[in-house]
């Protein structure tokens, strides 16, 4: 850990550079760090993926179990997204119940998947109102160097696309697993793009040092058809309506770029 004085000077430098259209790590304002996607890395999970975005590393595991559908959605399977800031990922993370940041991360990832109708949940119902497949998406942050939302959303998408569902039959109301698997029924491929507002400008994919300087954060998730499926403003600063619309146009392009990284496997 650098001393507070050094980091203050660095923060000022980051903000000043962005004000003049440059970034301390040499990236253009609208450029992502190098992104790598790996899938199928946890054999015990029905689906898994790891995304590296610069030095940020996030793993997502998908587990599928049988459970009960929600009473207000009796003909659909269940999706739950959870996130863990494991203490090995950052000196700032502590063990214990999930904090605000972790809950927000999980809910933003969840919103992208749910609102884009990425998973065909109706195909996951076994007995309406009684039994359904439950898709657990667990986001595991392994190394925090900023922009956890985009890395997690991309890892979640890659993991879901990689998820296999066990075959089963129903006998006397009981679900019995059979040998063999089918792919998880997917209908859309949502991708999140996050901006940091620094010195009145928006930069894409902020790394940790930039996040410490940013006053506002904006995440926009896009489905495959170019429609927005989720948004979240964070941070204690504000944005102008014009900035938001501008960001939406940039984000749509960036979402395409990121989606290609997942699709080509």
């Amino acid at each position: 850990m650098t001393s507070i004085m050094v980091s203050r000077i660095r923060q000022k430098q980051i903000a000043q550079l962005i004000g003049s259209g440059k970034r301390l790590d040499g990236r253009e304002l609208n450029k992502y760090r190098p992104v790598q996607v790996e899938t199928g890395i946890i054999e015990k999970a029905e689906g898994s993926a790891k995304v590296r975005m610069g030095r940020t590393e996030v793993m997502v595991g998908v587990k599928i179990e049988t459970g009960e559908p929600f009473s207000d959605r009796p003909s659909e399977g269940v999706l739950t997204v959870n996130s863990e800031f494991v203490p090995l990922a950052s000196p700032e993370f502590e063990a214990g119940p999930p904090g605000e940041e972790s809950v927000e991360l999980a809910r933003v990832v969840d919103r992208g998947v749910r609102e884009s109708k990425a998973i065909d949940l109706e195909k996951l119902i076994i007995i309406p109102g009684k039994k359904a497949l439950v898709v657990f998406v667990d986001v595991y942050v392994l190394n925090h160097d900023g922009n956890l939302i985009d890395a997690s959303a991309l890892a979640a998408l890659a993991a879901l696309m990689n998820t296999k569902v066990f075959k089963y039959e129903v006998k006397n109301g009981e679900v019995i697993k059979k040998p063999g698997f089918t792919a998880l029924p997917m209908r859309n491929h949502p991708v999140a793009v996050t901006f940091a507002g620094i010195s009145g400008k928006l930069v894409v994919d902020p790394w940790l040092d930039e996040e410490e300087v940013m006053d506002a954060r904006l995440t926009i998730s896009f489905g495959e058809d170019g429609r927005i499926c989720a948004m979240q403003k964070g941070g204690t600063g504000t944005l102008t309506p014009q900035q938001v619309v501008e960001a939406a146009h940039i984000a749509r392009e960036k979402a395409e770029e990121l989606r290609r990284l997942v699709a080509k496997r």
Binding site: R107, G234, T238
Partner: protein, 248 residues
């Protein structure tokens, strides 16, 4: 989800009789809780929400104190009886997230640097929920902050716009929120043209989103007017009371 619900009639009238760009009736009251340093109450449609502010006061837990400014703490909470099916009083993940985004919406309006080493605590209790509670909560909380005499750059006004029954509509009610296609809650500081809270769920083209944000901002401006009236009303009431005493 019932596919048969008609959210907007052929004449462009909504289930509660409103036009597409019409807010629900809003009632605002300021200074209604005697123990709090500042308080406000809002009714927006069937929403009934209380907001209270305590502080600047000592920070609990103490290690959260900041040497150069106040910390703003915020709790958005729904009463167990506020919704159709009893809600467990323990904070849900939704409430944790909303507490965060509401705090981040109020923070830019407050001169926190005037009160180092203290805490300003905002409590929002949803007594009855009818869609758009986070917006109504922000509207009430910002009035409660003003009522507590905390110096502010501007009031924060909030409301949502969304897509329901294929139409772009202002200030979604519970039914439109649940059965509609998209929801865009916005909080705004009109004096600065600054968006302080922005979320969205559903499916929208960029153009639809832009129109909805503009619609929501118009709603915020109307609510801003009501907020200022409500603040003035409190002091007018005090003035009248004082005058009556003088006459005696």
């Amino acid at each position: 989800m019932s596919q048969t619900t008609v959210l907007v009639s052929e004449k462009g009238i909504r289930t509660d009789g409103r036009k597409l760009n019409e807010l629900r009736p809003i009632k605002l009251e300021v200074g209604i809780l005697s123990n709090a340093d500042g308080s406000a109450y809002i009714e927006q449609g069937k929403n009934k929400i209380l907001a209270a502010v305590y502080g600047p006061r000592e920070v609990h837990p103490r290690h959260l104190a900041l040497p150069d400014r106040a910390v703003l703490q915020c709790r958005y909470h729904m009463a167990p009886f506020s919704v159709e099916e009893r809600k467990s009083p323990a904070p849900s993940r939704r409430e944790v997230e909303l507490s965060k985004v509401i705090r981040e919406a109020l923070e830019p309006a407050i001169f926190l640097e005037k009160f180092p080493r203290t805490s300003i605590d905002v409590f929002i209790e949803v007594l009855q929920a009818d869609g758009g509670t986070r917006g109504a909560g922000v509207t009430a909380a910002s009035l409660a902050l003003a009522d507590a005499g905390i110096p502010m750059r501007d009031l924060v006004a909030a409301c949502a716009a969304g897509k329901a029954g294929g139409h772009l509509v202002l200030d979604l009610n519970d039914l439109e929120d649940k059965e509609g296609e998209a929801d865009v809650p916005v909080a705004y500081m009109p004096n600065f043209g600054a968006v302080a809270l922005l979320q969205m769920d559903g499916l929208l083209t960029i153009e639809e989103f832009k129109q909805l944000m503009d619609l929501a901002l118009e709603g915020c401006k109307q609510i801003y007017g009501l907020q200022k009236e409500a603040l003035k009303a409190k002091y007018l009431a005090i003035k009248e009371e004082a005058e009556e005493v003088e006459e005696e």
